[in-house]
Symmetry: C2
Subunit: 450 residues, 2 copies
Amino acid sequence: MTFEVTSEFVEKLSKLIELRKDSAIKKLFEDVHYADIAEVLDEVDFDEAIYIIKLLDSEKTSEILTELDEDTRLRILDNLSAKEIAEEISEMDTDDAADIIGELSAERQRNVINALEDIEHAADIKELLSYKDNTAGALMAKELVKVYETWTVAGCLRRIRGQAKEVSRVHSIYVVDKKERLVGRLSLKDLIVAKNDQKIADIYISSVDAVNVNEDDEEVAKIMSKYDLEAIPVVDDNNVLLGRITIDDIVDVLKEEADRDYQLAAGLTQDVDSDDSILDLTKARLPWLILALFGGFISVSILGGFGDAMSKFPELFFFTPLIAAMAGNVGVQSSAIIVQGLANDSLRGSLFKRLLKETILSLFNGLILSVLLMSAGMLILGFNFNVGLTVAISLISVIILASLIGTFVPIILDKKNIDPALATGPFITTSNDILGILIYFLIAKLILGF
Amino acid sequence: MTFEVTSEFVEKLSKLIELRKDSAIKKLFEDVHYADIAEVLDEVDFDEAIYIIKLLDSEKTSEILTELDEDTRLRILDNLSAKEIAEEISEMDTDDAADIIGELSAERQRNVINALEDIEHAADIKELLSYKDNTAGALMAKELVKVYETWTVAGCLRRIRGQAKEVSRVHSIYVVDKKERLVGRLSLKDLIVAKNDQKIADIYISSVDAVNVNEDDEEVAKIMSKYDLEAIPVVDDNNVLLGRITIDDIVDVLKEEADRDYQLAAGLTQDVDSDDSILDLTKARLPWLILALFGGFISVSILGGFGDAMSKFPELFFFTPLIAAMAGNVGVQSSAIIVQGLANDSLRGSLFKRLLKETILSLFNGLILSVLLMSAGMLILGFNFNVGLTVAISLISVIILASLIGTFVPIILDKKNIDPALATGPFITTSNDILGILIYFLIAKLILGF
């Protein structure tokens, strides 16, 4: 359980590889979980990783490959022949197999599939590869336990013993009619509790949740977590049973979704981790920074436009970063609440009510902050009353505007079927910076009259 | 599957409640999933929700209660007697029961537990309530299927039929010795495939992952998703089997963790959704805004300190929001990558290497952005070369510093066992704003010599 990749372990392993002590290496990994071996492979030199993959049994290495980081896996697969990859693939469930083959070039894909000995397995993988990314079809596995409604319990148990060997986890047994259409489900428990001569048709549960093969994977995740399902069958438009999705796949979908939202909020355009190359990291980071720079430029121009006020009211210019920062922070808070509400389907009530509530809320927060600001500004920094008042009124106005923008931009994006998470982070801070500064100086002009 | 809470449905329901058509209401909900009924209860008036809860069978309402939003649930439970709550609780699995009782006041907790008829169930719930929040013990359920290693397969199947009725999902059958210590596991499949007269001791799998009852729940989630487990047994320090955690509980833990990180990054101190009261929303939002205001104040003072430069170089002050915004954005990007790396345990390599990489990366990004800035500033806005150079050099320096702060603050917090997600969002933007502005003016002073 508590295996840790220590530097002693890695050193020992390196030495064994250097000395080509194959049996000792095998023994070293004997009781180590494949997920842990995958971590070891991330730590050792690349040549050593290849050596280990070629040395261990494909039963073990196929599992290791599915656990590896995509980059590392691709580099390793580049060093294997199509036949060697096919051997690994033949040990995998169809969903993992399709995911990994899908990462290869079109030509390699064909070669690997042609090298597979089990024709049925190959056909299943080809079918899975044909579904669009991020659909139920791309997520499902072909492995499932299926019985016909006309079978008896005894016959069922006999055949399940055969089918179940290929299915690592039996969540539900799916019942189909003679046209392969899904009609119901059974649990192993139901089968064990039933009498041997009963017909499946008499004992199955006919209410069975299923998703269409073209359903969006995030929607499938929502359905499965809402209804607490551990597996869900996937059907085509004619209700023919095609595959099943299990909850561990959904855990991955949920994680990816959460990671992506988090990254968008932080201004990263693609999934990167800190070990990626500087080029990849730049690709993820630079677009948003250029957007922010462009936005910054607009604020420079706005400030330049009000430059004449500088000689009379220099303090005004000291407050611009404060106003901009508050606008940005308020905007991010509001948009984050909405983005999460949209993700959890928990937004209710009319737009008008929301507008009213957000306005009252930000008025309330704005008042507290303005009082703090005015008293501190006048008492500590000794600004004159009019400047203090200008900053305070601007702060309230900016907070209200920023929270309204933060609230409604994601709602509008969502209505237009654009990922609302795009509206968080740099996008909202940049636009709120600009608007905040503009409003601030307009109010200042009104009150101070420069 | 695709039940939608329509306004027609809610209207029809309201009318039926008004007319006290109890059997029609029951019929209306007959085929509706409890998770959907929970959504309906969120939509209708509160009195109507109470009416529905009191009307439907406790078998159904107990499930509905577990699905409700905590606020709504508490309000409903406030309207039920201890005995009525006990009836609901008696239909629930121990983990859900303990979660819901745990939300009540200490006195209500005692009353409800005393009102439970099933003494064993009550004792189980009391045990679960005794574990600390966010531990494996607080997450687990007492329901599981357990067999002794001395039993035969046939005896096992017979007894499992009894135990399994109480356990909604049988993931694994846990094998214990006569001192109740966990020694291994079995799947239902293994049992079905085995011969009737075989001993459990001969067929069980002795390698079984387990977690200690005091283990942190996020750690349990990591273990279960790393090793692709659908259930994990929980043991005490003597390896005595206490309960089990299933993957659907882990889905909730992962979701909560992701939500909390996201909220911290957005500057929200507690879990709020947009339907919460203005007071709750203020409590979540105001602390970070006050922090940002305080930070803004520091930047006002810094700018004030360099106020003398204003007459000679007014343009400098136009660029402060731009510099501050870039510092904030870069800081958030860097910290988000680290926070995610820490959450996924994927940070590898030495701190020095990371420092070097982050510096090169930000130097590279900074150069591109500075060239863009200088050319735009001089060509479009017509600034003089020295001011352009000052802004450009400052931008590069600020980007490097901001990315280093964004990288190392979360790492340091994590080493000190503080949630690194605290370092994202307003905290990093505010401190980077201040440092960015300070550095900018120091460099300006050096180059322009005011």
